[in-house]
Structure formats: structure tokens, C-alpha cells
Symmetry: C2
Subunit: 160 residues, 2 copies
């Protein structure tokens, strides 16, 4: 067991990410069914399209990292999702997949480069931060959509 | 020098945060002067108020961490800022302060608890992630404001 001081441990970073994913799940839940798929501001994508992107990154990207497979980015797996309930089920499946793949990243690999989706050649930790940051970014946009719809979003610090 | 494998080093995490801060600076710049202070959607704060919050957290929070000073959160320092140029100048001053305070956090302290602003008792790394995440969250909202104003926001991956 590694007892050297760490800025953050792998387990802690996974918990941090899954906490964010739990909040995003609440944001999906907060949308009225129709608005989830249709509401938008300023020509941006509806939140369902953003959630498709998040689902197409998270588990597939980690799988790519673990298997060092540079398969291109694709939203194909989410094209069949047409209800909020289906998105939420897929979200929960991804939660489990992420937990499983995460355990397969050795500590010494976070600093190693990997060409994610055959396109993003960065240290693995930077790709992982991108997954988290991109989710926070789009979820923040979802908050504006909810407010514009007169719906109170979940508290930002909700992580369960 | 610590050569043990790390998920992320302190230097790398600082670079990550400052990269995000550089992007937020571009978002501030992208707003028309008037809209920066006045435009809002769904009863939310204008982006200037969000930027005030970000400025009131970043350097003051790190200073609190370094000095273990639990002085309460305050936006008083930003109340005198009435132009975008003043915000940008304050932003740049904060960039330097953050760099200086960051060096004063020993590696073994990231996992230690600190009661930030006398109110948020968490491991220091969790408070730091909060600063970054909260900035990404509000900046994502700023992107929607810009799009609603017909302005193209900077690319999300801009970090300089």
C-alpha cells in the first residue's frame, strides 16, 4: 500500500467524479420530459444532447484508456435513448462501468500519455479532468435552462 | 524531490486551475461592457456578479488555507469594481497571488482538513476542487449568456 502523501488518491478522485455524476443525474431528473429533449437557448443543444455527449465520453473513454484502444468517439450508443428514464438507466449502468474500469488504472499510469479516441493525446489525468470539467461545464448550462424554465436546480453541492 | 507516482502533482494541478482561469478571463472579455453587468436569464446573476464570487473565493481562499485563517467569505474587495477593465486587472492580480500562495501549501497538507471561511470544513484538496469546479460551473452559465446574446464563446479547450 502506498502511504506517500498525495495531492489526491485515485479512490478520492473517483469519488469526486461520481459525486459530480450524481449531481448531473439530478439535473436530468429535474427537466420536464419534453424540455429535456427540446428546450434550448441561443441555438445550443438541448440538455439530452449534452447528456448523450457525457455518456459517450465517460465509460467509453475509461474503457479506451484501460484497454489502450483508440476507437473514435461516437454517440451511437445513445441514439436509441428516447426517454428520460432510458437516459437515467444508461447513466446508472455507466456509473458501474466507471467503477470497474477505474480500478484497472494503475497509479503510475495517470501521468502517462494516451491518445484518447485516437484524437486527444494527453496524460491520462488530463483526459480524466477533461471528462469531469466538461460535465460540470454542460451541467452549468443545464442549470440556466432549468432557471429559464422556472425550475429550481439542485444545490451545486449535492453529490449523492 | 518526491518521485513517487502521483495521480497529479501540485504543480500540474496549479497549471490546470490557472488554465481554467485563463479561459474564464476570455469569457469576461467576450461580454459587451453593459451586458457583463446587466444581462441575465431566469433571474440568475449577471456574469459580473459571478466573476465577483470567483475573485472572492480564489486568492482569498488560498490565503486563508496558507495562513489557516478562517476569516469569513466576503465580496467586499470586488464591490469597487465597476468596469470590465477593472475586473480583468483584479483577475490578473489574483493570478499572481494564487501562484504565490500555492507554493506555500506543502504536499502533505492537501489531505488535511481546514475550515475554509470558518464554514467549509473539508480536506484542502476538496476545497481547491470546489474553487475550480465552481468556476467551471458559472463559466458554463456565462457561455449560455453569450450564446443568448448572439456572441460565440471561446473554445472550451482554450487555456492560455
Amino acid at each position: 500500500m502506498n502511504t506517500t502523501a498525495q495531492v489526491i488518491s485515485p479512490e478520492h478522485l473517483l469519488k469526486h467524479w461520481q459525486g459530480h455524476r450524481a449531481l448531473t443525474r439530478h439535473v436530468i431528473e429535474a427537466f420536464p420530459e419534453k424540455d429535456f429533449f427540446e428546450f434550448s437557448i441561443g441555438g445550443m443543444r438541448p440538455f439530452a444532447k449534452m447528456a448523450s455527449e457525457l455518456l459517450s465520453i465517460a465509460a467509453p473513454a475509461l474503457k479506451g484508456i484501460v484497454n489502450r484502444n483508440e476507437q473514435p468517439y461516437s454517440e451511437q450508443q445513445t441514439e436509441t435513448l428516447t426517454t428520460k428514464a432510458q437516459f437515467l438507466q444508461k447513466w446508472d449502468e455507466a456509473t458501474e462501468e466507471i467503477n470497474q474500469y477505474w480500478k484497472q488504472i494503475p497509479m503510475e499510469d495517470f501521468g502517462k500519455n494516451f491518445n484518447l479516441f485516437g484524437q486527444y493525446e494527453f496524460p491520462i489525468i488530463e483526459n480524466i479532468f477533461y471528462f469531469i470539467d466538461n460535465e460540470i461545464h454542460h451541467r452549468g448550462q443545464g442549470y440556466v435552462y432549468l432557471r429559464a424554465l422556472g425550475i429550481e436546480p439542485p444545490f451545486f453541492w449535492t453529490r449523492e
